[in-house]
């Protein structure tokens, strides 16, 4: 591991001033991505600015009935918070199904959104990778791609976005609040994560040194009946092959409101708007769910190694929506 210097930030303004002024510096939150990748020589900051002493942890209800979750709130604390569990079960479940208990005590929500892809070529500083080193090529296109994305890919990068929490937050229309040298900004989550296109090294629109201060989840009554389904190679402590964050409200047998996002299968947390558009007003039944899932995956571009994800994603969508529909007894969509 390369030598680094360390600074502990005591107020957000100084943290932003320090990192903004120094392109060789990075923020340090839980360190579960940053230290890992520093040790692999994938990230090469010269200086780390520790933001854990900043007053950015905690969960507050907003006047409108949503939540504002501070950037350094730990995954375990956010998952266990009663207001998250009651109002946004899909978010609590997504957090709880990520990583391990030890990692969830360390990892922050802000860091979770900015975690880096698990593509083995990205993690290997000797392998060509457009995300790590622009214009060096994408090794996964012709190499091992079983874990890679089938949606939102480009000929420059097919790495899947690894975060579980971001999938639930995308389904919930959450937004990211930041502080930069120029002041505060807010990004809707769907605009925050960028598709790889021809610049896979650009993953979000923030400037260097811009600090995530909080994630805001708007009031979303339909989310009271929601879930996060995570399909993976082992039962726990594993990234998703495919995951689904879904919320459903059924009134008189018909779908009144629906939120769906896909994880593990796409290059960014994937809002399944085609599923949503297809299903609003439809009868909540398996056949409709399967048709909607097929529409969403119609544009999938799999490799021979990850072609199974196209079918798996559809089945996961049907299972998630079917589970939620069963709970409604198909006639009353009011929250349980």
């Amino acid at each position: 591991m390369r030598p680094i210097t360390y600074s502990r930030a005591t107020d957000p303004q100084s943290a932003v001033a320090t990192v903004s002024a120094d392109p060789t510096s990075d923020y340090l939150a839980g360190g579960t991505t940053e230290i890992d990748l520093l040790r692999q020589y994938v990230l090469q900051p010269r200086r780390l600015v520790d933001i854990n002493a900043l007053p950015l942890a905690g969960i507050e209800s907003t006047p409108e009935g949503g939540l504002r979750i501070g950037a350094t709130t730990r995954m375990s604390d956010a998952a266990a918070a009663p207001e998250v569990r009651e109002r946004f079960p899909m978010l609590s479940e997504a957090l709880e199904k990520g990583a391990s208990p030890q990692l969830r005590h360390m990892a922050s929500l802000g860091g979770n959104l900015l975690q880096r892809v698990r593509c083995s070529y990205f993690r290997d500083p000797l392998a060509p990778c457009n995300k790590r080193e622009p214009d060096s090529g994408c090794s996964a296109l012709t190499g091992h791609s079983r874990d890679h994305a089938v949606l939102g890919t480009s000929e420059h990068c097919i790495a899947a976005h690894p975060s579980d929490a971001a999938v639930a937050l995308t389904a919930l229309d959450a937004s990211v609040h930041t502080l930069g040298p120029g002041g505060e900004r807010t990004y809707p989550l769907d605009d925050f994560f960028l598709l790889p296109g021809d610049s896979p090294h650009r993953e979000h629109p923030m400037a260097h040194g811009e600090l995530i201060t909080a994630v805001e989840v708007p009031p979303t009554p339909v989310a009271r009946r929601s879930l996060y389904l995570k399909v993976r190679d082992r039962a726990s402590y594993e990234f998703a092959l495919v995951s689904v964050a879904a919320a459903l409200s059924v009134v008189d047998g018909r779908i009144a409101d629906i939120r769906v996002a896909l994880g593990g299968a796409a290059t960014k947390p994937w809002r399944a708007r085609r599923v949503e558009d297809f299903l609003v007003g439809e009868v909540a039944e398996r056949r409709a769910f399967a048709q909607a899932a097929q529409v969403e995956l119609a544009e999938a571009r799999p490799t021979p190694m990850n072609a199974f994800k196209v079918e798996l994603a559809q089945r996961a969508l049907v299972r998630a929506l079917g589970t939620l529909a069963e709970g409604t007894g198909l006639e009353d969509g009011s929250p349980a």
Binding site: M1, R2, P3, I4, T5, Y6, S7, R8, A9, T10, D11, Q13, S14, A15, V16, A17, T18, A21, L28, G30, G31, T32, I35, D36, L38, R39, Q40, R46, R47, L48, V49, D50, N52, A99, S100, P101, Q102, L103, H105, M106, A235, S236, Y237
Partner: protein, 173 residues
């Protein structure tokens, strides 16, 4: 701190930088305050093992995937391989060496022996630090024990006996 350093830590100004060479770090471990001279890049795991000769916490993967390095920071189980020692200043670190009281093994340590919950023993300090914390977190159902111990891998696959040890401590409580 000199007047210059203080000016550097005023609101909105650039922060003081420590390192990259060795810096003096005050590390409270198992109730005793230690002072170590380490570079900021040194992990908590290496500081414990190489500088304080507390070799209970083990290095399995050094990348957060195995749990052999599990210790507590401020009472919460964390991975010491992905934690910087310098970031633990002012926080209380507890390792497996701090678990016994007055020479008597902790109940979880006794249960691991009674249930034959290890073979080579390499993962055991991490398993035990994780297991004690798990019960303190209130995750006491059989399924919760299974899921809550999933962050600690065991190459010898002693899992059934590890779970039996954790359950036996739960049932005694």
């Amino acid at each position: 701190m000199s007047a210059d350093d203080q000016a550097l830590t005023r609101r909105g100004t650039v922060l003081e930088e420590r390192g990259p060479g060795p810096v003096r770090v005050a590390l409270p471990v198992n109730g005793t305050e230690h002072a170590v001279e380490i570079e900021p890049r040194v992990s908590l795991l290496d500081a414990l093992r190489e500088h304080l000769q507390l070799t209970g916490a083990k290095k399995g993967c050094d990348q957060g995937t195995c749990g052999a390095c599990t210790v507590w920071v401020d009472g919460r189980r964390v991975l010491s391989c992905l934690t910087l020692a310098v970031a633990c200043e002012g926080r209380e670190v507890t390792t497996i060496e701090g678990l016994a009281e007055d020479g008597a093994l902790h109940g979880m340590q006794q249960a691991f022996i009674a249930e034959d919950a290890f073979q080579c023993g390499y993962c055991t300090p991490g398993q035990i630090m994780s297991a004690v914390a798990l019960l303190e977190e209130g995750r006491t159902g059989d399924e919760e024990i299974k899921e809550g111990m999933s962050g600690n891998l065991c190459r010898c696959a002693a899992y059934p006996n590890i779970r039996a040890a954790v359950r036996s401590v739960r049932d005694r409580a």
